[in-house]
């Protein structure tokens, strides 16, 4: 019971802090003081208080999309084990559900972008969907490897079961899918080598292009949903890279917090030392992720 409460609290409260850590790391690299760590919370609260401006050409899809984004991300967060214990929601085959929750969110975001009737947002939607074609198979291959290594078909079993089976033959595939998953994480959460979350330069945006027309509370929800997505995918990656637990809840939760904040700092470092890829080079990166994950799978079943 207590575990469930902490799980929910972490899932609901922590995500914007990750964005804050990333921004702070980037500021530190650039020699600036940077925005306070809690700035994303202030931003979201500020957006929530604002009034809503809706374009007259839009329909209910435009209003539903941010809600779907946030709710699918939170639902996905209920399927994965955070900290040492299991997930609140678990059933055999929930890995497919997990992957397609993100698919559903993407479908609604892209539809909402098309709903505005703006050519520019349509372009953003086209880019997002194109890149998703490449990152989704990579995610699936990674999940397949995890399922094969742990012999379980539920995310809890998969993500908690990799430690025991840490035989020599499973290490190489796990390293490969960690690299693949990290690239997928960067692509899905619109981080720098793929997309730049801070830019508003029209031709280089992917995700930002799609949500340009959203304002006020709707935009706040989108921001929050993106942060939750970062937390969820980051947690999955962490369980693959560092599958350690102490077996005691009071040690596992602090360990998890340190790990996830460390991951956010690593993302900040990656954003600081890398330039954004040219749009036409992004597919190469994603095909690379796909190759890593697929190759890990081949290595495992050989």
């Amino acid at each position: 019971m207590i575990h469930l409460i902490i799980h929910l609290a972490v899932l609901l409260i922590l995500p914007p802090l990750l964005l804050g850590v990333i921004v702070k790391t980037k500021a530190w690299f650039a020699g600036r003081v940077g925005a306070p760590l809690l700035q994303p919370y202030y931003d979201i609260f500020k957006l929530m208080r604002r009034s809503l401006v809706l374009s007259t050409t839009t329909t209910w899809i435009f209003r539903a999309a941010p809600l779907v984004t946030v709710s699918t991300a939170l639902l996905a967060g209920l399927l994965i084990p955070i900290g040492g214990g299991g997930a609140p929601l678990t059933f055999a085959g929930d890995l497919i559900f997990f992957a397609y929750l993100f698919g559903l969110a993407r479908f609604f975001t892209a539809s909402a972008a098309l709903d505005t009737g703006s050519a520019f947002e349509g372009m953003g939607a086209a880019r997002e969907v194109t890149f998703a074609c490449l990152s989704e198979p990579a995610l699936f291959f990674a999940l397949l490897v995890l399922a094969k290594v742990s012999g379980s078909l539920s995310l809890t079993g998969m993500l908690l079961g990799t430690t025991g089976a840490g035989a020599a033959h499973a290490t190489a595939p796990l390293v490969l899918i960690s690299i693949g998953l990290f690239i997928v994480l960067l692509a899905e959460t619109c981080r720098i080598p793929v997309d730049d979350p801070t830019t508003h330069l029209e031709l280089t945006m992917i995700h930002e292009a799609m949500v340009l027309d959203h304002s006020g509370p709707l935009f706040g929800l989108i921001l929050y949903g993106a942060a939750v997505k970062l937390l969820v995918l980051g947690t999955v990656l962490l369980r693959v890279v560092a599958p350690f637990t102490f077996g005691r809840a009071w040690l596992d939760w602090p360990l998890y917090l340190v790990e996830i904040l460390g991951l956010a700092a690593v993302i900040g470092v990656v954003e600081s030392i890398m330039a954004r890829l040219q749009m036409r080079h992004v597919p190469y990166l994603l095909v690379g992720a796909l190759l890593f994950c697929g190759f890990g799978f081949i290595l495992l079943i050989r």
Partner: protein
């Protein structure tokens, strides 16, 4: 211990592909330096008990492969003022695909070899073959002298991984002798690179065919 070993070997495979895909010579040199440094750690992980021989190989290997050789090559690169490999025989994307094919081939081929029972499960032999093949691809498809040197280094890294299987049997002197040879070879090549640049005002090794007695 085995887990760490496998991790390093997978990273070496990934670095192979990265070396094939990058056009900037500086990042190519850095990649190979990192690969060499990772390989320098292998003797410590490969054998349970650390004999004096293994420990003594680690230091020189790390220093030479990870620092000295890359430093000389970066110096040579600065001297001749080139930054990129332009117009390779095979493009960068196709050579990554070639490298991936070579890796798959190495995995399949190593599965057929009659290896000692201790080495069957590890990736040592496939990684060694894949790295050697990557070195070949770099050597044959790039024209700049510096990139070819890097290809040679990658090739040597592959052979080094093979040598790891024998580190107990092979005398320390042989291992260090190989390293010394390598160092001297790179030293000489870096001078030659300068000479080629002075003679032809370009690093393209295709010009060398026009040399006459």
């Amino acid at each position: 211990m085995t887990n760490l070993l496998q991790t390093i070997l997978v990273l070496v495979l990934v670095l192979n592909l990265f070396a094939l895909g990058t056009s900037r010579i500086l990042s190519l040199i850095r990649t190979v330096a990192l690969q060499g440094a990772l390989l320098g750690l292998l003797p410590l992980l490969l054998h349970g008990q650390h004999s004096l021989a293994t420990v003594l190989t680690v230091g020189p290997t790390l220093a030479l492969k990870g620092l000295a050789i890359p430093y000389m090559m970066v110096r040579a690169m600065r001297d001749v003022k080139i930054k990129r490999e332009v117009e390779p025989l095979v493009g960068f994307q196709p050579s990554v695909i070639l490298g991936a094919l070579a890796t798959v081939f190495a995995l399949l081929f190593a599965g057929q070899l009659p290896l000692a029972a201790a080495h069957v499960d590890t990736l040592i032999v496939p990684t060694a073959i894949a790295t050697v093949l990557t070195g070949f691809i770099l050597l044959t498809t790039r024209f700049k002298a510096l990139t070819q040197v890097v290809g040679y280094l990658v090739l040597e890294n592959g052979i080094f991984i093979f040598g790891m299987l024998l580190v107990e049997a092979m005398p320390l002197v042989v291992e260090l002798g190989v390293l010394l040879d390598l160092f001297v070879a790179i030293f000489v090549i870096c001078i030659i690179v300068n000479q080629i640049n002075r003679a032809f005002s370009s690093l393209d090794t295709r010009h060398l065919v026009s040399l006459k007695e």
